[in-house]
Amino acid sequence: MASIPILEERQAQIHQKGSQPFEMDCGKHSLAGSVSQRACVFCGSRVVLYPIADALHLIHGPIGCAAYTWDIRGALSSGPELHRMSFSTDLRERDVIFGGEKKLAAALDELIDQYKPKAAFVYSTCIVGIIGDDVAAVCRQVEKAKGIPVLPVHSEGFKGTKKDGYKAACDAMAKLVGTGATDKIAPVSINILGEFNIGGEAWLIKKYYEEMGVEVVSIMTGDGRVDEIRRSHGAALNVVQCSGALTFLAEMMEETYGIPYIRASYFGIEDMATALYDVAAHFNDHAEVMARTRAIVRREVGAIMPELERIRKDLDGKRAAVYVGGAFKAFSLIKALRHLGMRVVLVGSQTGNASDYATLQDMCEDGTVILDDANPLELSKYIIEKRADLFIGGVKERPIAFKMGIGFCDHNHERKMPLAGFAGMLQFAREVHTSVTSPVWQFVPARAAAMAAGEETP
């Protein structure tokens, strides 16, 4: 096989556990020409704010950024669906020359009248700062005229990485937090941060917490509502999922409102159970909460175990590769895959930090390839070398797996079914099982050769 070259500058972001001292050179701007799987600052902001369903999301710039983010996520809403529309100032040449402020103000005026949103987010794209638009000033002016919060999101694509986009989104939300009434909020109450209700996951999780006797004040941002965010400072605890996307906001709320936060992940049995037990432990002066939590975990695990056991028989010993946006999801997936009897042979993330990678290294077995900000060539090289049976990633990773005849599970924003929660774990297992056990792999040239050589069983 023709060898796939790895760029020298990328070597420090690719490690094989056990083969050398481990120090991931992460958190860097992507290398020009490397074909990073990452997106940009705008993407980070858009991902975080997208599910807020009763807000107007206006993207200020030429058409591309709005066109490519129109209704691209399975972030469900139980009510309004304004978030599923795409709004752009669609800047043209003369706007670039004379400035886009007038157009932005006119667009906000028109859209707010038409859709009556509870708030508006105005995303700056790459060229907005360069053509000198004062977006904040336009937002202030419209906010005054319309009487709703109009929040600039400083998300110019080139001004950092996706993580900076998370922060810009949190900065915008921080202006909403603390502006609503907090009376009638129970003392045993939380906000769920960093859960985007893909396929209805937030609803599953909220149900568990409510059954425990914990009031969920707001979910940021799954099935999100502006008014819930405004009163979220009335909650007793913030529970933060997702590597860092909402951590900025949790830290701000701790500083300003004294609300402590804990981390959580809702993927896999262990992490899901831990997420509930940790919240119960936080409210340990309410003993009944912990008792209920135990009952929920027992019931939910009991409900999925028989089928999980059956699925595990088919998946036992199969090899999985995981490449996701945030490292926290990777932690959970490694544990969830182990539950299915699978071995993780490659794991990587777009935005992990040094301590994330240290954790990953601790979790993985010797020989596992660990990557930061990988590109398609690297991912291909190692899924082939490690003879993965399954790749877990997003849309951009899917064809990499399929071309070489490797199964795939979409664990990104486009998924349509809940993979979080206990019920989600079962869905995840079924998803993996459906792909890995398909009879089509026997016809794949690369794998047929391996089967013929006795290296692989059908």
Partner: protein, 457 residues
Amino acid sequence: MTSALSTEHFTATQNACKLCAPLGAALVFKGIANTVPLLHGSQGCSTYIRRYMISHFKEPLDIACSNFGEDTAIFGGGANIKLAIDNIRRQYDPDLIGVATTCLSETIGDDVPMFIRTYQADHRDEDLPALVHVATPSYQGTHMQGFHGAVRALVSALAEPEPAREPTRVNLFAGMVSPADLRALRTIIASFGLTPVLVPDYSDTLNGPLWTEYQRIPEGGTPVAALRQSGAAAASIECGLVLAGAGETAGTWLHENRNVPLHRLGLPIGIRQTDRFFDCLAALSGRPVPEKYTAQRGRLLDALVDGHKHLNGVRAAIFGEEDLVAGLAGYCGELGIVPVLCATGGGDGRFARTIRRVVPAAQHDRMQILEDVDFVDIEKALADMDVDLLIGHSKGYTMARRLKKPLVRVGFPVHDRVDGSRLAHLGYRGAQQLFDRLANTLIEEKQKSNAVGYTYY
């Protein structure tokens, strides 16, 4: 006709019926052999465009990027583009790197042609890939301008001067059509004994088989050598009735600078436009239309007669790229389908004229033509209309669902079906497939709404 942005009254674009220029350029570069597209700008542009195209083509689709950072926006992208080219060469060893600018690099005024000349001068002793640049600021035009601009950039950068004329060589600039269509056109031209050079040709690179070994750049595409020889062709054929009015295209460049005769035809959709395409090839080759195609045409006409009642008088709304809509509107006219709405997100002023030319005059007063509009405009227009059918790409699904009208998917993108790459629109076979899909869709609607549940139609 309305044009949303032609007045001083500014309005937002809601659910755009267009994409940005770099996407079109990147798609063209994917159709050149051993080529890597490079977007000069921020990381997001290439990633979003990859994601959008992968959802349609379902193939690996590497597009590099020069990864602007804050410093780059201040000091210019010269250093980044150099590093990007270096890294692409080391990773992919390509024959060509197609550089398309983004709104960011255009707005800060990067002189990309100068960067490229400098790079070439600095590496003059090395075996460099061809470096072709196209300016694609997304505030100027849509993905179609990016597409046609990149095709023109390729031939104008590479076509060698004073070539020896090759009487069987034909350049085909088919526009943004499906891999299945490209494959069909290539076969049709070859069947006349001509040597087709399709620019671009992503029929293999974006619709290929599984791999036995990893391919850094998927196999297929028009070789750079063929582009260099494009000035030697006996003729160029450029498809698209709207494009035919454009002043600066690949075809006009080769005509003006390499003396290659240019035939500007419509997309070969339906009977008449396909006939014209075949007539043109027959004239160029001096050979009659091969029997295989007269037989295809015969079966198509037979099917049209057999099924004509399903379609005559049906009212359809067509939306998408200007030339695809124009081609489909013409075909609808041939079938008796009234294109009550023809809409595009593009807008170069030639669209409405073209549509009126291809649709029978008797239908004009029942037809609305919208240029430079978005899906909210289109849906608003449809609210007052009685339509039976929508014809367009999958982004129209949201509207179709609300209107409870069937959507026959054509063109790009088709994100919600498995066969986007395999959809055929062109030639007699494409016309046949379109006819079958249109008629079957209408029959299915009748079955769904009929209380009897007929098992025959």
